[in-house]
């Protein structure tokens, strides 16, 4: 056993209102520079939809993630030999058009246009070339199902659905959508790190944050192809790749990342979990339908004395173990088994988990009046408008029972609270659901509390960084770490080379 701490995340999709505050917070801090205009380290997409970049989930197109090979796994994009063969031109690299061409408007025309009969207009101009352009794609072009004939209908997860199910999803009365906010998953088996020939990407040992060292990056751009979530981005201006840094400067000073901090719906939870690093390879190579369970298995119980002893032996500071004990992510993922990884079949062992949305059941129209069956409202999953198969394609590599199990638990909590607060549900029915899902009344109460009423400190449990230990290493030679942190070297301004 090799116990390590991983900074982990949980997004509660039932709470996401799709306001994009997170995206804007991130953009304002990190990606407001030339060459990064098109990057959204945090993006929120409408599901069903094709997402950002378009059809990122389709690995036939992008070749991201890992695939099984004999007893173990290999990168889908290239093995080591083909890395060198494809380095001069990468067949599966997304281009700017798979995201969108960033633009602004030529506002000066509003003031400088010569007098005439027409109102002057500010025409869109490309932020890359400065030339006039026609906008035909943009961030969240398909928000709230707009253009769904093009976007929703081409959702890669639709492949798992029957024709009838697909048809039904585009009927006006059945339309349904939810939001999927995405950042880098800070994976335990990151494909970005593994694919970089220069070794520019790395995982931080102490907290598991995955970073990209731009002084080592040589723009071979394999990370962009290899990340199945398309969360590494190529800066066309500087000639270096970039990615979400989990706001490590904020985390190191005890603040949650900007997208977490600013989240209006308070859907985001942040905390460490302890895991067994010896199991990474074997679990990433597990059969597809076991991936979710096995990944959960890898997360260790921070209250178990044996785990604590081993963690301390492996150099995990006690304050980090304490933080793991208070981690809301641990509770949702491991204790209550409510949160699931996104597309576990990509085999990167993502450490951002999602509580899937409990979407409204299907109503019916009678005499021109839309109605939902009130008695069934809280009980029927089979009438949910999004087929279970779709959810399974997103969160459990196709295992429908697993998503159903999670959704049943969420329903049980609602029924339990409804019975308590409104008292219009038969208590026998609640008892039956508790029995079926294995939840206790106390667990329901705690899930309810941590879902609906958590304080800032309960949502974000950030372990101390212990800068004092790092500082200690420099005793004797204060310059020992020069050029290893921050922007190093003699000059080190992040500018494009000659």
């Amino acid at each position: 056993m090799d116990v390590r701490a991983q900074t982990s995340m949980m997004f509660h999709l039932d709470k996401c209102i799709g306001c994009h505050t997170c995206s804007v917070a991130c953009k304002n801090i990190w990606t407001d520079r030339k060459g990064t205009e098109y990057m959204w380290w945090n993006n929120v997409e409408t599901k069903p939809g094709t997402g950002y970049p378009t059809k990122w989930e389709d690995q036939e197109k992008y070749k991201g993630g890992w695939v099984p090979k004999e007893e173990t796994i290999k990168l889908r994009v290239a093995d080591k030999a083909s890395t060198f063969a494809n380095i001069f031109h990468q067949p599966h690299l997304p281009t700017i058009d798979d995201y969108y061409e960033p633009w602004t408007y030529k506002y000066s025309d509003l003031f400088d246009a010569p007098a005439g009969d027409d109102q002057p207009t500010a025409r869109p101009i490309s932020l890359i070339t400065g030339e006039h352009m026609d906008i035909n794609a943009g961030p969240n072009w398909d928000d709230d199902l707009s253009g769904s004939t093009v976007y929703a209908n081409n959702d890669p997860n639709y492949e798992k659905l029957t024709e009838a199910e697909k048809q039904a999803l585009s009927e006006l009365e059945r339309l349904v959508f939810f939001y999927l906010p995405r950042i880098c998953n800070h994976c335990l088996n990151p494909a970005c790190v593994a694919s970089c020939p220069s070794g520019a990407l790395y995982k931080r040992g102490e907290d598991g944050i995955v970073l990209l060292d731009q002084n080592v990056c040589r723009a071979w751009r394999f990370c962009v192809s290899a990340c199945p979530y398309k969360k590494t981005y190529y800066n066309w201006k500087t000639g270096k790749s970039e990615k979400c840094i989990l706001c490590f400067p904020r985390v190191e000073s005890g603040q949650p990342p900007a997208c977490f901090h600013s989240c209006v719906g308070r859907i985001r939870y942040f905390g460490v979990v302890l895991y067994d690093a010896d199991k990474i390879e074997s679990i990433a190579s597990a059969p597809e339908n076991e991936l979710v369970e096995r990944q959960r298995e890898m997360i260790l119980n921070p209250f178990d004395p044996a785990v604590i002893a081993q963690a301390e032996k492996d150099g995990v500071h006690f304050s980090v173990i304490e933080a793991a004990q208070k981690s809301p992510v641990y509770r949702f993922v491991k204790e209550w088994e409510l949160a699931l990884p996104l597309h576990p079949e990509f085999r990167t062992l993502p450490m951002l988990f999602y509580v899937p949305p409990l979407l409204p059941v299907l109503g019916h129209v009678e005499n021109g009046v839309y109605d939902v069956d009130a008695t069934d409202y809280f009980t029927s999953l089979d009438k949910a408008r999004i087929p279970m198969r779709y959810m399974a394609s997103l969160f459990t590599a196709g295992n429908e029972e697993q998503v159903r199990g999670v959704l049943e638990k969420l329903l049980t909590v609602r029924m339990y609270k409804r019975a308590e607060q409104v008292d219009d549900i038969d208590s026998a029915q609640v008892e039956a659901m508790l029995k079926k899902t294995g939840l206790t009344a106390e667990a329901c109460e705690e899930i309810f509390r941590l879902t609906s009423l958590p304080t800032f400190e309960e949502r974000f449990v950030i372990p101390p960084t212990h800068q004092e230990y790092t500082a200690e290493l420099t005793v004797g030679d204060p310059y020992a770490f020069k050029a290893e942190v921050g922007v190093g070297g003699f000059k080190g301004s992040p500018e494009r080379g000659w």
Partner: protein, 202 residues
């Protein structure tokens, strides 16, 4: 000292020394600027035809030249038999045309795509032109000075070649100094510990 001494005895060594010192200096002082400066993200079709032909071609041609440069006897004794000489010449010539074709494509691309123009520096153009002169004169030598590969050298080709060596540290050519050979043997995953041991390079 004759001009010949100066051009072929001093200049090449000067170029090599400046190239080495310059590259080291650039690596130490401005590591960020070491990059292949890929522009595939903005334009991929033309790059495929240009970059693949160019790189496969130039790397093969350079390897053959390097062998000829380091072990001239090997090449000469190989070429002693006419049939082998023909094979050598034919292969060399095909490779050279491949290289030249790729390079022309790269140059066309630099000018024809408006997105690519945005990421084209003056140095990029200068470099592509230097390379064009080099490859074109090389092909020309091979064509009109039968049989070129038995010749030790052609003046212009050699001088321009050393000029190219000289400008390596001042152009994007530094990218081939960072060929990531370490990838072949390093483990896939990389973990950097802040506390366990100092992080030296990567």
């Amino acid at each position: 000292m004759t001009y010949d001494d100066l051009l072929f005895g001093v200049f090449p060594y000067l170029c090599i020394i400046i190239a080495i010192l310059g590259s080291v200096w650039r690596f130490l002082s401005d590591r960020f600027s070491y990059s292949s400066l890929s522009s595939q993200f903005l334009e991929t079709r033309q790059l495929f035809w240009g970059s693949v032909a160019w790189h496969y071609g130039i790397l093969a041609v350079l390897t053959i030249h390097l062998v000829g440069f380091l072990f001239p006897e090997t090449i000469l004794s190989w070429n002693a038999e006419p049939m082998r000489l023909y094979v050598m010449e034919a292969t060399g010539f095909t490779l050279a045309l491949f290289t030249l074709g790729g390079l022309i494509m790269l140059i066309v691309r630099r000018f024809s795509s408006s997105r690519i123009r945005v990421v084209t520096s003056k140095m990029d153009i200068a470099l592509l032109l230097f390379l064009l002169i080099q490859v074109a004169t090389g092909v020309w030598t091979a064509m009109f000075y039968r049989w070129g590969s038995s010749w030790y050298a052609m003046y212009a080709v050699i001088l321009n070649a050393f000029l190219l060596v000289l400008i390596v540290p001042f152009t994007r050519l530094v990218h081939f100094l960072s060929v990531p050979i370490k990838y072949i043997w390093r483990p896939h995953q990389i973990v950097r510990w802040n506390r366990r041991s100092p992080i030296i390079g990567a």
